[in-house]
Amino acid sequence: MAKRVEAVNDFVIKFANVNGSGSASANELFARSILRMGVPVAPRNIFPSNIQGLPTWYEVRVTETGYQGRRGGVDLMVAMNPQTWDADVKEIDEGGYLFYDNTKPLPKSKFRPDINVIGMPLTEICNSTYTDPRQRQLFKNIIYVGALSALMEIDPNEIERLFSEQYKGKEALLQSNVKALRLGRDYAQQHLGGPIGLKVRRADNVGHKIFIDGNSAAALGALYGGATVCAWYPITPSSSLAEAFIKYCQKYRVDPATGKSKFAIVQAEDELASIGMVIGAGWNGARAFTATSGPGISLMTEFIGLAYFAEIPAVIVDVQRGGPSTGMPTRTQQSDITACAYASHGDTKHVLLFPEDPTECFEFTAKAFDLAERLQTPIFMMTDLDIGMNTRLCAPFEWDDKATYDRGKIMTAEMLEAGRDFGRYLDVDGDGIPFRTYPGTHPDRGGYFTRGTTKNRYAGYSETGPDYIDNVQRLLRKFETAKKLVPAPLLYPAERPARFGAIFFGSTSPAMQEALHVLADRGIHVNALRVRAFPFQDEINDFVASHPWVFVIEQNRDAQLKSLLVNEAKVNPSRLLSVLHYDGTPITARFIVEQISQHAAARTVVPLKKVVS
């Protein structure tokens, strides 16, 4: 008899499914029903690069404390895919549970003695209830959700309420789903021997939080931030961002009087064209953006350099993924930091924003348009697959109706008429930012020829060295100005005096916050700083200088943020210790705790607890 993992509101369930079988919506329904019971969840999709018939996984961490990072380990495997059976069974923690379809008997060798096995004849139930093959497949998913709800004591009323919200006005669909759910519940209650050790108990830890994926949130940010032109090329994991923008625009940006669109969205022929369109639109005074991933950034780099030198606003959302080609790209990484910070030829540096979750995806994307127009330069929103394509429980979106868009330094026809001196590349007030005019502003003033580098302060053609130096030095001053405008780093101080510091950013945030708590419980106190943008502010230097050792936690192989810190913030590299996670899965608190504990031990730090005891 295997031991049983017993846990309330704190465990991990993994669904192993077949792509295209309709499992995704059933699995999300399962996660939402737990949320409705006031218990936070952190779900994650793990999907290989396929569309139909091949493996896909959905992992739900049930977490009363609200930790949104991936935990690691599996307490219950819902094994619905024979192709991945062996690996799925192997992954279950000792004492965990295996739920499977036992319509077709499997040899004993296919199981493990140290786990608890729950077999349910799902196919048989479906085949005897439904005649339509598609229904047999779709309702199988709902039936297992019903069974799991019984096994884990999830309130079925919450699931039925979710159905009635989803199928409002579609009575037939509502009824058939409820029927399938009850079928599963009833079978489980009658035949599966009572609840398992993993239980969901009603709590009050969700509050006003919202449940949304980062790509949709960023699309909403673009909507609220006033983006009117979007040019994009499909690439995982960013496509759903542009698609969400289309959806929101159709809902909120169609002029009710004329039925005409207050937006223009073009699916371009490639990323070169999409960034070209964004730059053309930005040059002409519209707020424009593109969404892409690493390979798209590679293709865009020539244009990005032009936009930097020609000083054209552009917003680029980079939903980062692993490497080139296909396969790993459906996994997550933070591996475009260097590529984006220095994208292009010549001396270039770009503003990067690092949102931690969908809330910041919304906030930073909206802000990116202000930054782009204020600074007249490309702004990179550096999100990743983990944030972008997983629904995350996060703070609700907020908008201040009194806020106005910062359109930056625009010289108008009236200003030109009044005789204001216009030099397109003239720094009038020391912040490095010149005025610009929109094309078509004035019949004989303010027109200029936009070029990359070869120009003087008045946009006249100049190949002279002093003019070039004058211009690129001003661009450095502008980058200095950017420091004051981008989101400041956030400090998470340890509860006790700490010798270690930790710098982290982006999607590492939830795992890091959890790791800090676990480490503190073990007597390892760490002050943490979440970097939210590049260029780096002085607080980052001060933070590094005030700790003998600072961990830099990243999801890439080459410690790209650390390199950037050394290169640009001039922090002392000998103080920096890298914690790197780059296998394509989201970083976990367990990994961070293990790495930091090892480093801490190697630096002969005696945990305070031991000193005290």
């Binding site: 040019a231 371009a268 369109m277 002409n284 519209a286 020609a310 908008w399 868009y405 936009t450």
Partner: protein
């Protein structure tokens, strides 16, 4: 090519157009191209066409890629905004600019290297999207700024200045534009101002992607015997025109043709296009016939010129996207931002 500054003083009696500008108001900086370069004649034709169509100079946005041809927007419409962008990528910049403000005239100037080689993809997609713009390719079959390499429009068998024969098939920009759905397709010759100016004017008035392929011999690298883009060769093989004045190598050429039969095409907005130089039975609105004739003419070694195709019922990208009449760059938070009440509803739906 000259280093003398252009006098800024205009003669007070210079004639003005309907919007109050003299022809000089449409000029730009002094050209830095080689003396006799056909591209300068095209710039002059653009100046003339814009002046004659009464367009306010600042309501034109000039866009280009990289290369000799792409430098020319500096040499006309000096008060207009110009954008010397990335090699081969002018079409995407023009597309984005056009989306941002549908009220300006977009004039894209490119070359055969820029549009047929590195930028063929963007050229293709710009045509098929129907971006409302004038797209001029100054076609000389050679890379001038990098000193004489073949471009993708160089004819198979034509010889470089160093005597090397081109072994690759040429890309016919006109045929390509036809196939991709451009709604206005023309070909002309840089020296033939009488033909070119009206073509540019008609392209300006056209709604949708208006493409003009202008054969513009490179006096420095592609005007020798053995080249199929030399003045002599084009003169001898111009299907629409067989009378060209003799010119010397370094002299800008101009030629006047006797007008042929005139055909009138009325476009959707009532504007009329007069077609010259082509045969009586030539129907510039019959896409299939035009494509056949182009093939036959090319097989016969001719360079077919004139307004080759026009769709009188053309449409453009804004129409396809159903965008609002107000230029998008003029919309502010009031028109664009749904506000906090809507956001609270969105939040509520995400719980």
């Amino acid at each position: 090519m000259t280093y003398l500054a252009k006098p800024k003083l205009h003669h007070p009696d210079l004639p003005k157009n309907a919007v109050g500008f003299t022809r000089r108001d449409y000029e730009g900086r002094i050209s830095t191209l080689c003396a006799g370069c056909g591209h300068d004649s095209i710039s002059a034709a653009i100046i003339q066409a814009c002046w004659e169509t009464d367009i306010e100079p600042h309501r034109v946005a000039k866009l280009s890629g990289i290369g000799c041809s792409s430098k020319t927007p500096d040499y006309f419409l000096g008060n207009s905004h110009g954008f010397n962008s990335v090699h081969g990528r002018m079409p995407s910049v023009a597309t984005g600019a056009n989306l941002a403000n549908r009220d300006l005239l977009y004039l894209g100037v490119s070359g055969d290297g820029d549009s047929a080689s590195i930028g063929i993809g963007q050229f293709a997609h710009c045509m098929r999207r129907g971006v409302n713009m004038v797209y001029i390719v100054e076609n000389n079959g050679v890379y001038g700024l990098t000193k004489g390499q073949f471009s993708a429009t160089a004819d198979k068998g034509s010889k470089s200045k160093r005597g090397i024969a081109n072994s690759d098939e040429p890309i016919d920009m006109v045929g390509l534009a036809m196939q991709l759905g451009a709604s206005f397709v023309a070909r002309s010759f840089s020296g033939d101002k009488n033909q070119l100016v009206p073509l540019v004017k008609a392209a300006i008035e056209h709604r949708g992607a208006a493409f003009i392929d202008v054969v513009s011999p490179c006096v420095a690298f592609n005007n020798h015997s053995g080249s199929t883009k030399s003045y002599d060769y084009v003169r001898e093989h111009n299907a629409a025109v067989n009378r060209l004045d003799f010119i010397t190598g370094r002299e800008e050429i101009t030629a006047d043709y006797e007008p042929g039969t005139v055909t009138i095409v009325t476009q959707h907005d009532g504007s009329k296009l007069r077609l010259r130089k082509l045969a009586h039975d030539y129907d510039a609105t019959d896409r299939i016939k035009v494509m056949n004739l182009l093939q036959q003419s090319a097989a016969a070694g001719e360079v077919m010129t004139g307004l080759l195709y026009v769709d009188p019922e053309s449409s453009d990208l804004h129409e396809h996207l159903n965008t609002i009449e107000t230029p998008l760059n003029r919309l502010g938070e009031r028109e664009l931002c749904p506000g906090s009440v809507a956001l609270e509803k969105i939040n509520a739906a995400l719980r």
